[in-house]
Amino acid sequence: MSLFSINQIRKTFTNGEVEEEILKGITLTLKEGEIIALVGASGSGKSTLLTIAAGLQSVTDGQIIFEGKNMSAMNQEEIRKIRASQFGFVFQFSHLVPFLTVEEQLQLMLDVSEYQLKKDEQKKEVNRMLELVGMNHRKNAYPSSLSGGEKQRVAIARALIHQPKVLFADEPTASLDSKRSKEVILLIRQLTKDLNITTLMVTHDKEMLAFADTIVKMSDGVIVHKKESIK
C-alpha cells in the first residue's frame, strides 16, 4: 500500500527576471516501511524534492498525497500538524536548539508532536531513545559541548522519538568524518527498520545504498534511473 505519493510535481524558482524550473515533473511512490535513497549530482534538485515532500516548501504544480490526503491543497496549519506529528527530519547539520539539553531536545519534540504521554512515561521514552542512539550518558549536555557525530545522533533521536510515519533525511552524514558517518548510517538503518518507518533520504553512502529498497537517481530535475533492490 502506498503511504506517500508524489505526482508530477514541478517547482519553479524566480530569480529576478529569470525563471528556472528545478523540478520538472517528478513522480514517486513510497510504500509503508520502504526506504528510498535519492542520489544525483549536486544541483540536480534532490534537496528541493525532499523539502517539498516534507511540507517545508510548496510546489508550483502537482500533488503530494500523504495517507490519502492532498498536502499541496492544505493550509499552513494543517501541514504544520502533519510535520509535527507524522514526520521526522534529519539534515546535514543537526539543527539542535542551542539552549536545551539533549534530554530536553527530545522532550520538546514530544510536546510539539502532542504525543500523548504521562510525565514519567515521557521520561522513560526519552531515556529509551537516548539509549538506542547511545547518548544516554550525555543527556544533560548542551549541544555546544557535543561533537558533530554526537549531535547528529541526538538529531536522529529527536526525529524519531514521536514515532513518525516518515523520516526525511538530507545528507545526514555530509558533515561527519567516515567513521562517524558509518555509525550514523548504521543507526538510521537499524532504527528505521526496527520502528518500520518509511524513509526518504538523500545519500551517497554505499552502505545505505546497499540497504535501501529503492534507489532513485536524479539529474537536472528529473528522475533518470530507478532501481528496486531484489530483497
Binding site: 510535520r83 509535527a84 539543527h95 536548539v97 520538546l108 519534540m109
Partner: protein
C-alpha cells in the same frame, strides 16, 4: 516546556544586558519624573495640595493673580452661599529672622477656612522648610513694611509658592504691609462645574497653576524630557528585540520546521519581554523609592507610587508594542531558511 525561561537561563549575559538597559532608562525616567513633580510641589504646593475646585480672578487682571481684585460684596455673598469658600491674597516678600538674616517668603492671607490654620494679627505660620533655616516656634520675625513683629506660631508641611516657603499671616497684617483692602482671588472647593460671575474669570486648578509665571515653562520642559525618555525606551525595546530576533531567525526556523506553532514563538518572546521588563522595573522602582527617601531636603524630589505605577504601565505597553512590532518578522520566517543557513 518553558522555552522562554530556558533560553534566558542559558543566555544570561544577553538578557542581563537588555535588562540593565531597561533598568537604567526606567530609573532615569522615574528620577526625572520625581524631579518634575518635586519642582512642581516646590513651585506651587500651596495650590497643588488644595482640594479640587475652582478659582476666580477679576477679568481685568488678565489672568495675573496679583493684579486681580475681589470686590468685598461679592466675596461676602460667595462665602455666605458656600461656607468653605476662601478668599486669598499672595505677595512675594521677605522676613528678617532673629539673626537679622533676610529670608524670602510668599506671604499668604486667607479668610477663615478649615484648609488653612487660623492666624491672629502679629502671628505667622511658616512652611516647614524654614525649620532648616534655623527658625523655631516662638521666634520673632519682622518685615520692614509692618509696624509690629510676627511671632512664629507653627509650621506646616508642603506649603510653597513660586519656590518660596509660604508665610501665612493675618489679613489685617497683610493689608497693612501691602496697603490694599481687597483679596486677590477666590477659591471654591468642590467637584461641581464652575459658575459664572459678572466680571470674573474662572480657572480649574490646572489652569490656575499655569497662570503662575515659570510654573508652565518649568513643567513643560520636564514633562517633555520624561516623555522623550519614554519614547526612547520604547525605541530601544524595539531595536533590541529586533536584533535578538534577527540573531534567532535560524532557531525560529528550526522550531517551526519541527512543528512548533508560530503563536508559541510569540508567546516565548512576550514571556521574555514581560520577565525582563518586570524585573528591571522592580529594581528601578526600588532604587527610585530609595532615592526618594535619601534625596537631600534641598533637592525637590517627590515620586508618588501612583506616578510610578502609571509610568510602569506605560513601559509595559511600550515594551509589548516594541517586542511585537519587531517580532512580526517571526511570522515570515520560513523553516527552510534555517535549514539552508547551516548550523545555528
Amino acid at each position: 516546556m518553558n522555552l522562554a525561561w530556558k533560553e534566558m537561563k542559558r543566555n544570561k549575559v544577553r538578557f542581563l544586558i537588555l535588562g540593565s538597559i531597561i533598568f537604567l532608562i526606567s530609573l532615569l525616567t522615574f528620577i526625572i519624573s520625581g524631579l518634575a513633580n518635586g519642582l512642581s510641589q516646590d513651585n506651587a504646593s500651596l495650590i497643588n495640595d488644595l482640594p479640587e475646585g475652582h478659582f476666580y480672578m477679576s477679568k481685568d487682571a488678565n489672568q495675573t493673580y496679583n493684579l486681580s481684585q475681589i470686590e468685598p460684596d461679592i466675596q461676602e455673598s460667595l462665602i455666605t452661599k458656600q461656607s468653605d469658600t476662601i478668599a486669598l491674597a499672595i505677595q512675594m516678600g521677605f522676613v528678617h529672622d532673629p539673626h537679622n538674616k533676610q529670608q524670602s517668603v510668599a506671604f499668604v492671607a486667607a479668610t477663615d477656612s478649615p484648609i488653612f490654620d487660623e492666624v491672629e494679627a502679629g502671628e505667622v505660620i511658616l512652611d516647614s522648610s524654614m525649620k532648616e533655616k534655623g527658625l523655631k516656634i516662638g521666634d520673632i520675625v519682622t518685615n520692614t513694611q509692618l509696624s509690629g513683629d510676627l511671632v512664629v506660631k507653627g509650621f506646616v508641611k508642603h506649603k510653597k509658592f513660586s519656590h518660596a516657603p509660604v508665610a501665612l499671616i493675618n489679613i489685617e497684617d497683610y493689608k497693612e504691609m501691602y496697603r490694599v483692602d481687597k483679596m486677590q482671588f477666590i477659591f471654591i472647593p468642590g467637584e461641581q462645574s464652575s459658575e459664572k460671575f459678572n466680571g470674573y474669570e474662572s480657572f480649574s486648578k490646572r489652569e490656575f497653576l499655569q497662570t503662575i509665571p515659570s510654573y508652565n515653562a518649568e513643567q513643560m520642559s520636564l514633562n517633555m524630557i520624561v516623555w522623550f525618555l519614554v519614547i526612547i525606551s520604547g525605541m530601544l525595546f524595539a531595536i533590541f528585540f529586533y536584533m535578538m530576533n534577527v540573531q534567532k531567525i535560524g532557531l525560529y526556523g528550526i522550531l517551526k520546521a519541527i512543528g512548533l506553532k508560530t503563536s508559541k514563538l510569540f508567546n516565548m518572546m512576550w514571556t521574555q519581554m514581560m520577565l525582563i521588563t518586570s524585573s528591571s522595573l522592580v529594581c528601578s522602582i526600588a532604587a527610585s523609592q530609595l532615592f526618594n527617601e535619601i534625596a537631600p531636603v534641598e533637592m525637590p524630589f517627590r515620586l508618588t507610587m501612583s506616578t510610578t505605577i502609571q509610568l510602569s504601565l506605560v513601559f509595559f505597553f511600550i515594551g509589548f508594542i516594541g517586542a511585537t512590532l519587531s517580532g512580526i518578522q517571526i511570522k515570515k520566517i520560513q523553516p527552510l531558511q534555517a535549514i539552508q543557513q547551516g548550523e545555528i
